[in-house]
Structures are given as C-alpha cells and as structure tokens.
C-alpha cells in the first residue's frame, strides 16, 4: 500500500516537523476544552451528579468524530491503518485504573488534560490538582516493582470491540454511534428530571437544530459503514510493529 497518511510514518514529513505540528494540534484540543467548559472543575464534577452531563456528551461526540473519521479514511483508502498506533488492552489493570481514576476525578474535579487547560486559564485548584497528579505519577514510577507485575497482566494485544463481540467492524461503529446517541438523550433526560430545566442557552432552538443535524449525519454514516465487511476497514492478517505491541513491550519491563 502506498498511502500518504499517516504523514510522519510514510515519510511525507520529517520527525522534527511532526513534533512542531503537534503544537497546533494541541492548540485545537486546548481551545476546544475551554469552550466545552472543561476548565471549570465544577462542571466536570457535576457530571457525576447528573447536574451537568456536558462531560459524557462531549466525550461521546469526540469519540464518534474520531471513530467515523479514522475508520472512514481507512475505508476510503486515505490512511494506512496498519501504521496507526493501536492502543493495546491490559484488561484488569485498565479496569482498576479506571475506577481509581474516576475516584480521583470526582474528588479533584479534573482529569489531566482539563487540569492543564485550567492552569492556563488561571485556576488555582487546577494548579494544585496538577501538582498532585505529578506526585501520583512519581509514586507509580518509583515504586513500580511493587505493582509492575499487575500492570503487565491480562494482556490481550490490540483487541477491538468488533473482535470481542464477533460482529463486523462497520456494524460495531454503528452500535457505538447508537450507544452515544441513546446515552446522550437519556442523560439529558435524567438531568432535566433531577435538576430541572436550567440550561436555556445551549438548549436554544438554533443550537438544538444544529446538534440534531450533526447527530443525524453521524447515524447516516454509521449505517453506511455497517454494510462494509471488516476487511474493507483493516487487514487483521497484517501484524506490523505499530499494530500489535509485543508482549514484552518496553513500557512494561520489570527487571
């Protein structure tokens, strides 16, 4: 395959240029985090009380956008998916890490990306959270031999939802779109039920029309994807170094 993207791995741009381009990409990320309202710890924490379900809705929208874009570009032959780094699954460490992470999030009011964005906008609680985050990372690294074996346990490779469910990748994409839409609608319903209708600005008519149109587009694209077999998105017989992370990967080597 001779596809242009991803540019840094097909030699279109140099490694140095790739690093420089990360700054504008991060800029867009930070810019969007601010406008999502995520430099405010209260808005993030309120998600856990259904007082403001913006966090899960933004996350669903970001995932669906990235998912439709990534697999859509692969389907259209615009990106060589075998060169895209796929995150490996270590099931149990990720589950335990997730629970702890949620505990830290509702106590601290931030996650790392939003805390850094909060620091940039002058939030003192964000600065303190980042300080704590650095301490937590240091403790993990310095006492790594204590939990290193657990950290590397339950390895499943780059294991995808479609492989786990035993259905096609395109159909899985449609399922995720539907989960995101149903999840969003039901969480907004719970928010209105428990806390009453307060958010009149972002629920104004033009905004709802715009968001309705965007959701309709996502569902339509998902339905189109569902007609394509997995092989048209990804060749699972190709195991490039980028695709499957070997079991004895660098990140996990305990001495």
């Amino acid at each position: 395959m001779d596809l242009a993207a991803p540019f840094a791995k097909t030699g279109v741009i140099s490694a140095a240029m790739n690093l420089w381009l990360a700054i504008p990409i991060g800029f867009i990320f930070g810019y969007a985090l601010f406008h999502a309202g995520f430099t405010d710890s209260r808005r993030i924490a309120w998600a856990f009380y259904f007082k403001d379900v913006g966090v899960p809705v933004v996350m669903f929208s970001a995932i669906v956008t990235g998912m439709l874009g990534l697999w859509g570009m692969s389907l259209a032959g615009l990106i060589d998916i075998s060169l895209v780094y796929m995150l490996p699954t270590y099931l149990l460490p990720m589950a335990v890490g997730g629970v702890l992470f949620g505990v830290g999030m509702v106590i601290g009011g931030y996650c790392p990306g939003t805390a850094i964005a909060a620091v940039a906008t002058g939030k003192i609680d964000g600065i303190v959270f980042v300080g704590g985050f650095l301490i937590g990372s240091l403790v993990f690294g310095d006492f790594f031999p204590v939990w290193g074996d657990f950290f590397n346990s339950d390895y499943m490779g780059a294991f995808r939802l479609d492989q786990w469910m035993g259905i096609g990748l395109g159909a899985t994409v449609l399922v995720i779109v539907i989960v995101a839409v149903v999840g969003t609608i039901s969480m907004i319903f719970v928010q209105d039920l428990v806390w009453g209708e307060k958010d009149t600005f972002t629920k104004s008519r033009p905004f709802m029309k715009l968001q309705g149109a965007l959701v309709a587009i996502a569902i339509a694209v998902g339905i189109i994807f569902a007609f394509f077999p997995t092989e048209s998105f990804i060749d699972d017989t190709v195991e490039t170094p980028y695709y499957i992370v070997p079991k004895a990967d660098m990140t996990g080597m305990a001495p």
Binding site: P6, F7, K9, I13, P24, I25, G26, F29, Y31, F34, H35, T39, S41, R42, G54, V57, M59, S61, T65, G66, G69, L70, L87, L91, M94, A95, G97, V99, L100, F101, V103, G104, M105, V106, G108, Y110, C111, P112, G113, A117, A120, G122, D125, V128, V130, F133, G136, S137, V139, F144, G148, F151, A158, R160, F201, Q211, L214, Y242, M250, T251
Partner: protein, 170 residues
Amino acid sequence: MKFGTRWPPIPAGILIGISMLLAFVVAGRGIGASGAMTRLVAWVQHSLFPAATEQSAYFGKYFAGGAHPLNDYVVFILIGLLIGAFVAAWLSGELRVEILRGPNISSSNRLLLALFGGIISGFAARLARGCTSGQGLVGGAELSVGAWVFLMCVFVGGWMVAWFVRKQWI
C-alpha cells in the same frame, strides 16, 4: 447563531475529535495529556538523581540511548494545549486567577481535595496506561476493548464516591 464562551457540547466534542483525527493523519497516533506529565516528573527526578532515574524500572526507558524525556510527541501536544486554552480564555475575557468550588466548601478544603484527587488520578493514569484523552477518547475511537472498559470504570469509580464529596460541589 452566536457560539460565545460556552459552546453546546456536541460542537465542542466534535472539535476535540477533529484534533484527535489530525493527530491520526499527521502522526499516526493519538493525543494525550498524562504521558507528558510523567515525562516531566522523570525529567525533574533525573536532574536530582540521574543514576537512579536511569536505572528505574519505569522511568529508565525515557532515557534509553541518551534520549531527553521531554523531546517527545506528547510534550508538544501539551504545550499546544496550554497555549490553546490560554488563547481561548483570553479572547473570551475569562482569564481569572480563582479557586473553583461549590458553595458549601472553604477554599483551603477545596485545594486539599484537589491535591488528593490529583495524586489518585496521577497514579491511576499510569496504571491504566493513559487518561481520559490518551486512553479513553483515542482508544474509544480505535474501538479498543481496554479503552471502553476504562471509560465505564471511570464513571463507576466516580459514582462510587460522589455522595461522599457532594458538599464540595453542590
């Protein structure tokens, strides 16, 4: 239709998704925030205890072959993130030094909880090999089983303790 300071959640989420897509197309990998912070502590510790840090089972890899831990993709993403959030807040007139908290908690208690929550999250993000963005959003888009399990567990963990810290927020 004026967007103003606070955008509705779906357009805001789509813009985050677009930044992730750009990283896929340009770099062949995703965005992230916690990895750069781990590299930062590794770098600070290395300036104090170089030999011990280079031999560290976890941090040692950042120094393999004479590498500089901060010369990495995730660090440049984080620099961009800082500038992006700063510019967005500045253009909106929202740059303010303040402590955000609910109406029923003192500033010092809020900061104490922010520190405590930060420590737990910092540890948890390393154990899960990423945070909300690097593991949750990117892995979620890649349909990774681990990422979806992580995301669901984040909400389980949050709901488990939400009742106990409710005075901080509502």
